[in-house]
Structure formats: structure tokens, C-alpha cells
Amino acid sequence: MREITFSEAIREALREEMKRDETVFLMGEDIGRFGGVFGVTKGLVDEFGEERIRDTPISETALVGGAVGASITGTRPVVEIMFADFLAICMDEVHHKAGKWRYSHGGQFKLPLVIRTAMGHVFGAGPEHSECPEAFYLHSTGLKIVLPSTPYDAKGLLKTAIRDDNPILFFEHKLLYNMKGPVPEKEYLIPFGKADIKRNGKDVTIVTYSFMTHEILEASEILSKDGIEAEVIDLRTLSPMDRGTVVDSVKKTNRVVIVEEGNLTGGVGAEIAAWIMEEAFDFLDAPVRRVASKNVPIPFNPIMEGFVIPNTGDIIRAIKEVIQIDH
């Protein structure tokens, strides 16, 4: 199968969906001629024109609020928010407007809108350009949250997102953009709420998503040499969340480590750990362990950045701790 990058996979999904449905359009800062600060939308303006690939001024609230207005009146906006940290600028539009408009108005409206945004650390981007803020929005109501880890998943999930009639937050990790992977030329879609087991194992279940999936796969190979076989579950979507796949795996391995790049307190791992206790407590041979960033902003200096964000070493240590607890 051919291999393309994560960026190319996203661009293909955008292009195919725009060709398929002329009500799909893009808005964002520098997404036109410039092609987006990460180059994802490069060339689309030549193909679809400035009416459908709309460069915007620095106006995040107008972008997301505008997408809400457009989505309830017959078009399907795909907004690019340059950095996921910037979602905080338009939190009212994301949390209250996109998340609650349908509900507050008695289910009268559909909101087919996608917010694509770049998240995560990328070697010294600093405290307001490195965040993984998905936990904030997991706490919101009415939003679907998608975080692909491979080019294949990115394309299939984005196509599903654009066709979905609900507001979607689509997080793209910056360190994934140049990563290559197999993507079929034939059209495919990936449904939401279906986790993907990226590695089978019998000794411990690792639950994760997005870029951390790769750190874990690397750690798993190292552990395999010590005879520890980790099962790696890539959730792919946090809302809806595939609890079934996680619980089934816990029943088999009896041990869980949850890994995320966002900071620990109030994080996604806290939520997952809580319902594993509620739904699979009897199957656990060790306490659930969380690996996440330390509770500080992501610092600029790469040495400090590397210390704050979990790496394969942190993951291996956590897995070994969980394994060594003998029931």
C-alpha cells in the first residue's frame, strides 16, 4: 500500500469531502495561499477558490461562532484553529455555542461543523503553543472529540467528522504531521467510538490516543524483550468513548496504565480510571496507574519540556510498577 504523511492524509480527506459536497468550506488563519502554518491546506485554494477556502484575520471567536451560525443554516464549515491552546480564546463559542445550541433550542438545529486544531509539544513552542487541552472539552457536553494517531486514522476519521451533523473537535498532534503511514487510495471511513488495538498483549493494558500511542509502541517493544507484552489501545475518539474495548482488555490483562500528554490533574486519565474502577474493579490486580505531563505549563527550554512531558522511560517505569504489584 502507498504511504503518505499525516498532513497529506488530512488534506486528502478535506479535498475529497469538498469535492463530494459543495456546502463544505474551510475557514482559518493563513490557510489559503500560505497553506496553513503547518502546511496542511496547501494547494486547496487553487483547487476550490477563495470563496470556499477562506483566509481570516486573527478572530477565533468570530471563526467558531461563525461556524456555528453557518452550520445551522445549511453549510458545513471546517474551521482551523492554528494552535489548540487558542481554543481558550473562543471557549464560549466552543463550549456554550457549539456544544449547547442544539440542546438549548429543543433539538431544532443540526451543527455539522468541524474544528481542526494542532496540539501538543513541538520542541520549544512554549506555554501557549504546546498544550493538549482535550480534557477541558471532554468535560463539555454536546461535542465529539477526535484525536487520530496515524495517517490512516486521520483520513478516515476526518471524513466521518465532516459528514457528521454534530460539532467535532479534531485534534492533530504537531509531531504527527510529517509521520508517514499506509493509506489506501480507495475511499474509507472510520466510525467514531471505536478504539483501535494498535498492539496485542496479555500482561498489561495501555490506554492512550494521539501522539503518545507512538511513544507507547516504542516502550512496548523494549518491554517485550523483558517478556512483558503490553496491549496498546488507541481510543481515537474521547467522545464518544469506546469503553467496551478497554474493559474487555482489562478483563484479559488485569492491569492498566493510562497515558496522556495533557497535564495530570483533572485529565482524561482521571476520567478513564474512574470508570474502570466502576466497571472493571473486580478484574484489577493492581491499582490503575496514570502517566501524564507534570502540572505546570509546557516550558520553552527543551530540557525542561522533555522533563515535563511523559517519555518512553516514564511509560516503561509505570508499566513495570503495575506489573510488579503481585496480587
Binding site: R52, A62, L63, G65, A70, T73, F109
Partner: protein
């Protein structure tokens, strides 16, 4: 501009309907049957109804929180409105959004942002849809003076003007944002002057003169429909009631309130109709009787309507449809 007799009587009837419905709410509040807060627009009927009179059925409206007049003006039935006021399952929001969120997608009423100022980008986005779909609809956004101080105002008006979108932003300037007088909130006298910053027309109008509001809104609506872009209108008016019913309004001078009450928009409009021989006292009584009857029927409908079931609270969050 020649305005049809039918349109004039429509404006009068709708203004009266708003006034009488809101007076009915004042009667009902002490009965304890209603829940929530009521932000009544008594005294501001000319602004809401005059503006709505300039819209076509297919056009979009985003009302303000003092906006019962707006939703009446866009044609939502009194039964549905009253059911929303009672929080009943038969209301437009089925008890989810209450009196503030009364809307009807089929009539182009797109809903309310209860965080004030949220309306500006949403209206911009609706107008963007119309531009992309070439559906010849325009979007009217009605908001108070207080809302115009949000940053969203700037972002949305800027983008709407750059993109020449078919949207009309109409400020219902009643001079107070709860207790905050306009003079303490901004260094300019006319909010319409802010239009200069976006290179779009900004017009001030007497918000208690329904005809003037209608004409100036129609001008902006026509301009938008011709593809010439957005406008900002400021209708200067006054709310007779407190910010919400039950509030101890201590921040306004009684003399000021009395002076504005002397400028009742309905009395003024009635006089013009009588002068034009379009209305006589007998007809006027008949119109009032008919409205009173409609309101009584709406109250009956609402009271007899079922409450939502508690578990209905779990519905309507997501649309289950995936576009094929």
C-alpha cells in the same frame, strides 16, 4: 416610501401583541406558575416590531434576550411562545431553553445566545451560509447596547464587512446594561458611530418610532440583499421595566422613566393610524379584543400542555444523523 395599509396595521397589531403579552406575563408572575427570569421589552415595541417588519419570511433573525417582540414579529405562534414561558413540552425548546431561547428554525428564528454578545459571530456565520448558498436571505441580529461592548462585536462586524455579508446588526439601545448607563460604558454618544471602524453604514434612529425603524431597517436589508454588505443601526429607546422582573431598580431617575413613558411607541403609532384614517376607536377595540382572546387561548394551551418528563432532559444533545 409608500407603505401599504396592510403593513401598517400589521406593525400596529404586532406591537400591541407584544405589549399585551408582556402585561399578561406581569399578571402571571405572582401566580407562581412561571419559572425563570423575565426581561420585558415594554416600551420598546417599535424597535423590535419595526425591525422585523422589514424582513421576508425566508430571512433569518437572531433575537435579543428582551426579545419577545422579535419572536412575535417573526411569526412564532402565541401558543408556542406561552408554552415556552411555562417550560412545557409543547414549547419550541421543549422546556430546555425557556423563555430566552424561543426559536423556530422553520421561521428563520435561529435562537439566542444567553452569554450576551455571542450573537454577533453566529449572525455573521448565518449570513456567510447565505452568501455561499446564494439563497438571497439576509440575517438580522438584534442586540442591546451592553452587548455591543463585547469583543465578539468587533470580530464579527469586521469579518462581516470584509466579506460583504448580508447581515444587519440592529442595536436596541435602551441606555442601560442592567445598571450600567451607556455614558459610563463607552466614550461615544452613538453606538452607530462604531460602523466607521468597519467601513459600513451606521445609522441612528428613534427607536420609539416604528415607521422610522421599519424604513431604516428595510434600507439596510435591501442593501444587504443586493450584495452590498452589512449595516449597523442604532435604535434609541427605553425599557419601562427593570432589567428583569423582581429586580429592585434603583439606578434610574424616576423623572427619566416618566419622561420616556410619555413617548409611548404604541400610542404614537395609533395616533398616526387614526390621523391617516386607517383606524378608528371601534376597530382599535376589536383588535385589542382579538389579541386578548389569542393570549387567553395561549395561556390555556400552555397550562393544559404536558410538562416534559424528567428523562427528556437527556434528549436533543446530539443529532443522530450522519449525512449520507
Amino acid at each position: 416610501m409608500k407603505i401599504s395599509e396592510e403593513k401598517l396595521l400589521w406593525i400596529y397589531t404586532k406591537m400591541l401583541t407584544q405589549r399585551m403579552l408582556e402585561e399578561k406575563i406581569l399578571e402571571l408572575i405572582p401566580t407562581g406558575k412561571l419559572t425563570g427570569h423575565f426581561h420585558l421589552g415594554i416600551g420598546e415595541e417599535a424597535t423590535f416590531i419595526g425591525a422585523c417588519a422589514a424582513l421576508e419570511d425566508k430571512d433569518y433573525l437572531l433575537p435579543t434576550h428582551r426579545g419577545l417582540g422579535c419572536v412575535i414579529g417573526k411569526g412564532i405562534s402565541l401558543n408556542k411562545i406561552m408554552a415556552d414561558i411555562y417550560g412545557k413540552a409543547t414549547g419550541t425548546t421543549k422546556g430546555k431553553g425557556g423563555v430566552l431561547r424561543i426559536c423556530d428554525a422553520s421561521l428563520g428564528v435561529l435562537g439566542l445566545s444567553a452569554t450576551l454578545g455571542g450573537i454577533f459571530p453566529i449572525a455573521m456565520g448565518a449570513a456567510l451560509s447565505s452568501k455561499l448558498l446564494k439563497d438571497a436571505r439576509i440575517t438580522l441580529a438584534i442586540f442591546g447596547d451592553g452587548q455591543s461592548n463585547r469583543g465578539t462585536f468587533h470580530e464579527a462586524l469586521n469579518l462581516a464587512s470584509v466579506w460583504e455579508l448580508p447581515v444587519v446588526y440592529l442595536c436596541e439601545n435602551n441606555h442601560y446594561a442592567i445598571s450600567m448607563p451607556q455614558r459610563k460604558a463607552m466614550a461615544i454618544k452613538n453606538i452607530a458611530d462604531r460602523a466607521k471602524g468597519y467601513g459600513i453604514p451606521g445609522k441612528v434612529v428613534d427607536g420609539n418610532d416604528a415607521l422610522a425603524v421599519y424604513k431604516i431597517t428595510l434600507e439596510a436589508v435591501n442593501r444587504a440583499r443586493e450584495g452590498k454588505g452589512p449595516s449597523l443601526i442604532e435604535a434609541k429607546t427605553y425599557r419601562w421595566r427593570p432589567h428583569y422582573e423582581g429586580e429592585g431598580a434603583t439606578y434610574r431617575d424616576t423623572k427619566e422613566v416618566v419622561a420616556w413613558k410619555k413617548r409611548c411607541p404604541i400610542r404614537r403609532f395609533r395616533k398616526s393610524l387614526i390621523d391617516l384614517k386607517l383606524l378608528d376607536p371601534l376597530q382599535d377595540e376589536k383588535i385589542k379584543e382579538r389579541i386578548a382572546q389569542e393570549i387567553d387561548e395561549a395561556v390555556k394551551f400552555a397550562e393544559e400542555s404536558p410538562m416534559p418528563r424528567p428523562e427528556d432532559a437527556l434528549d436533543d444533545l446530539f443529532s443522530s444523523s450522519i449525512m449520507e
